[in-house]
Each structure stands twice: as C-alpha cells, then as structure tokens.
C-alpha cells in the first residue's frame, strides 16, 4: 500500500479513537474536539511517511502535541467562561456532553484532577486509551522503563488521592 492508502486506512480505523482521546482531555467541548482532531490528522498527513505499522499510539502522540498548543492558548479563558455558562463570549462552546456530575465516576475524576498533568496523562493513557506500557512510551516519547516507572508512581499517587477523598467524604466505599 502507498503512504496515502496507509494514511486513509489509519484515518478510517482510528478517527473515533483519536476523537475520544481529544474529548477526554477537553471535557467534551464538541466544537473544539472537532477542530483539534482535524489538526491532528492534518499533521499526521504531512508526516504520513513516518506512519508506523501500529499507528494509534503514534496518532495519540500527535494529538498530545496539538492539544498542548490548543490548551496553552484557550484553556484558561474558556474554563472561566464555561463556568459562567450564559456568557456571550462563550459563543456556543459550552460543555456538550461531559461526564455526568452525579455519575459514580465523578469523584474518581476529582481524584485524578488532583494529580500532576504528567501523572494524569499516563493514567488516562493506561485506563482510558487502554494502552500497554510499550505504547504509552510511544505516546510520551520516552523509554519503556521510564513509562513503566511513571505509571507505577502515578498509580500510587492516584491511590493516595482516592483514599483521601474516601476518608473525607466516604465516597466510593
């Protein structure tokens, strides 16, 4: 298959997985999710000669870079504006379908949010994108041993936060 065909196959196969990856990190703000995903595949298209045989972790790596750029510019303002909900300058970018605040998962999200961004990412890649440690290493651009170590430490810290929340609110027991 040519590079173009490989790219088209990867696009069709992984479009929704990449969308979920982005949505999980943008709290589901749908108009932004689409923008970022479009950017991910535009970048991937340019780099299609480098597309590996297992493209998904590589695509997540591209998405991670795109998100870092998007978040740097917009995250701060939007978060405040989204909180207000009815603010005009939000122009329709409110949360579209974030996780239900009443869902049993919400306190786990709280525990996750208390960790460092690096800890959060390695945990999400493992639990939500269901990647193995070798694949996590591809996304993070680090060695397998370093990825395993990061995951180990992040799990320990998540455990501590969960326990703390459980003690504070009796949640999850």
């Amino acid at each position: 298959m040519s590079n173009d065909e490989n790219f088209a196959a990867a696009y069709r196969e992984h479009y929704w997985a990449v969308s979920r990856y982005v949505a999980r990190r943008l709290d589901g703000r749908s108009s932004e999710v689409e923008e970022v995903v479009a950017e991910v595949f535009t970048v991937a298209w340019r780099r299609r000669a480098d597309l590996p045989a297992a493209p998904l972790p590589w695509l997540y790596g591209v998405a991670r870079n795109c998100l870092a750029n998007a978040v740097r510019g917009y995250g701060r303002r939007r978060r405040l504006v989204d909180r207000l909900g009815n603010d005009e300058s939000a122009h329709g970018r409110q949360v579209a379908a974030g996780p239900d605040a009443e869902a049993p998962g919400s306190w786990v999200h709280d525990a996750l949010a208390r960790l460092s961004p690096a800890d959060q990412e390695v945990l999400r890649l493992t639990a939500w994108e269901e990647l193995g440690v070798e694949e996590v290493a591809v996304v993070l651009g680090c060695g397998v041993r370093a990825a395993a170590m990061r995951l180990h430490r992040a799990r320990r810290r998540l455990r501590a936060e969960i326990d703390r929340l459980a003690v504070l609110g009796g949640a999850g027991r």
């Binding site: 979920r20 510019g73 303002r77 405040l80 207000l84 961004p117 939500w128």
Partner: protein, 299 residues
C-alpha cells in the same frame, strides 16, 4: 476497594461503544476532511509544520494554576476593579486611532513575537469560594524558532520551559498583519469564527493576539482603527492601570459583566483588558464589582 486503575477505567467519560465518539463509520464531516486531505493537497493551506520529535512539555501548568488544588498558588486578596478618574476627559477611539497612525509613521517600535503579560483571573472550583490567581508570563522567541516561556511570581521564576523550534501560519501564531482588513480577518480566525466578530468576541481575540505577540506601532495603529469601528465600545475617561500606567478606558456593557479596554493615550497601543461582574452571581460566589479577569501587557 477496587484497584485504582479499575476505578479509573469505570470512570471513562467516552467509551468506544458510547453515544458520542463511539466507534463506527465516519460521519459526513470526517469523510469530507479525509477527502480534502487526499485529493485537495495543492490548494490546501500550509497550516502547521511541526517538529514531531519535539516532546512538548505539558502546558497544563496554566490549568493547574487556574483549577487550584493542593499544589496551586495560594489565594491572594482580589485586586479591585480599575476606577475611572472623575472629571477626566474621555478621548474617542477615533481620535486615538488617528494618534496611533501618526505615531506609527516611522514604524518603531517593531512587531515582536512573544509576550509579557501579567494577569489576574478568578479561578473557580465547585464548593469553594473563587480565588484570584495572579500570573506573570514572559514568552521570548529565538532566532532558530525555539522559544522560552517563563512563569514568574513575585519576581521569582517559578518555571522556565524552552520549546524546540516550531512554526505555524495559523493565527494567533501566524504573524499579524498591519492593515485593518487583514487584522480583522486574522482576529476572526483567531476566534475560530465563521462570522464577523461581535465586540466581546473581538476583545477576547485581541487578548489572544497579545498573549502571543508584542505589537509594533503599525499593528497597534491598525488595531486602534479596528477597535474604533467596534459597536458599543464607549470612552469613559482616564484610568491608572495595575502597573501604574496612565490609560484611556473604553467600556462595553454586557448583561452581567463589563469589559474595559485600556489604551495608551500616548501611542494608541492596548495596555490591558478588564472583565468585571456587574451583577451578583451567588451560585459562583462572586459579587458585582468583582474582577473576573484582568490582563496587562508590557513590552
């Protein structure tokens, strides 16, 4: 109690069999984008060029600062909204734009990539009163297209990150033009809008621009002219901004908040933007007069 990874798995907000972003055939938009990539390559704009090897340091510091949490910056007393000086004479934006055009005749100072911004913004979290988060950020670009971002607190560098070379021709990363029509289109693209911007959207996009670029005299003149044509932006008089600089203030009143644009009366450059609540919002723990967000830009 379940394993922490199990708990996290069960809290996955978007699953492959979920209603949103679940696996399945591509939708119309996704299909069209793929076709455009495959067949339309010549006419496509060169949007983004990346050095993929670049391990982009996670830019979530900002998020951490805003969201609060155990490791965040401690709350400080919220600074008060700027006060317009009594009996000062308002200068119209038209007058200011004319002044800016005259000052820009020799083209100095020049446009510079990067920014120096001090901001104060209300960080909110559920069940806790809002806190004002101060932030000072300096972004400097180098000749090889790498850049360094510094987060500063009380004159101390909290965090310094150097990013590898990167390029983009998408606003607000792309170089801003110094003609009014070009700048208008640039700001519209910055705001991801398909329609002409309303005044609040325009001001928000201006903030975005100034968070990326330190405008030169020519860009400031074009911006002043653009702002002079914005609906509902009313001159109210003189203020002294939080950095002690004299400014002319222009106000846009919204249903529950007020936007104030602060311009340099000597050069017509934008000095700052302030967003203040004008109604109590008890569910968010904010009162009329509280400043939601304030940014001050310096060279």
């Amino acid at each position: 109690m379940a394993d922490e990874l199990e708990l996290l798995r069960s809290a996955n907000p978007f699953t492959s069999d979920g209603p949103l972003y679940g696996d399945g055939p591509l939708d119309h938009h996704a299909e069209r984008r793929l076709n455009r990539l495959l067949h339309d390559r010549r006419s496509r704009r060169c949007r983004l060029l990346w050095s993929l090897a670049a391990t982009v340091a996670v830019a979530a510091t900002v998020l951490t600062l805003v969201l609060g949490g155990p490791s965040s910056t401690p709350a400080v007393a919220a600074p008060r909204a700027l006060v317009v000086q009594a009996h000062s004479t308002p200068v119209s934006l038209k007058q200011l734009a004319a002044l800016a055009a005259a000052v820009a005749a020799d083209g100095t100072p020049a446009l510079r990539r990067g920014t120096h911004v001090q901001s104060w913004s209300l960080g909110m979290s559920d069940g806790k009163p809002p806190v004002t988060v101060p932030e000072e950020r300096i972004v400097r670009w180098n000749a090889d297209d790498s850049h360094t971002e510094r987060d500063i607190e009380d004159g101390r560098v909290l965090k310094e990150t150097t990013f590898p070379p990167s390029w983009s021709d998408v606003p607000p990363d792309a170089r801003p033009p110094h003609d009014v029509a070009g700048l208008r289109a640039y700001l519209q693209e910055t705001a991801y809008s398909k329609t002409p911007l309303t005044t609040p959207e325009l001001l928000s996009a201006v903030g975005e621009l100034l968070d990326h670029w330190t405008l030169g005299a020519r860009e400031s003149a074009a911006l002043a002219r653009l702002l002079a044509g914005a609906d509902g932006l009313r001159p109210v008089g003189e203020v002294t901004d939080r950095l002690g600089r004299h400014g002319q203030a222009y106000v846009y009143q919204r249903s529950a908040s007020r936007l104030m644009l602060i311009m340099d009366p000597a050069t017509g450059a934008v000095l700052g933007l302030e967003n203040t609540f004008t109604k109590d919002q008890p569910e968010y723990g904010v009162k009329a007069g509280d400043v939601m967000e304030y940014s001050a830009w310096t060279r």
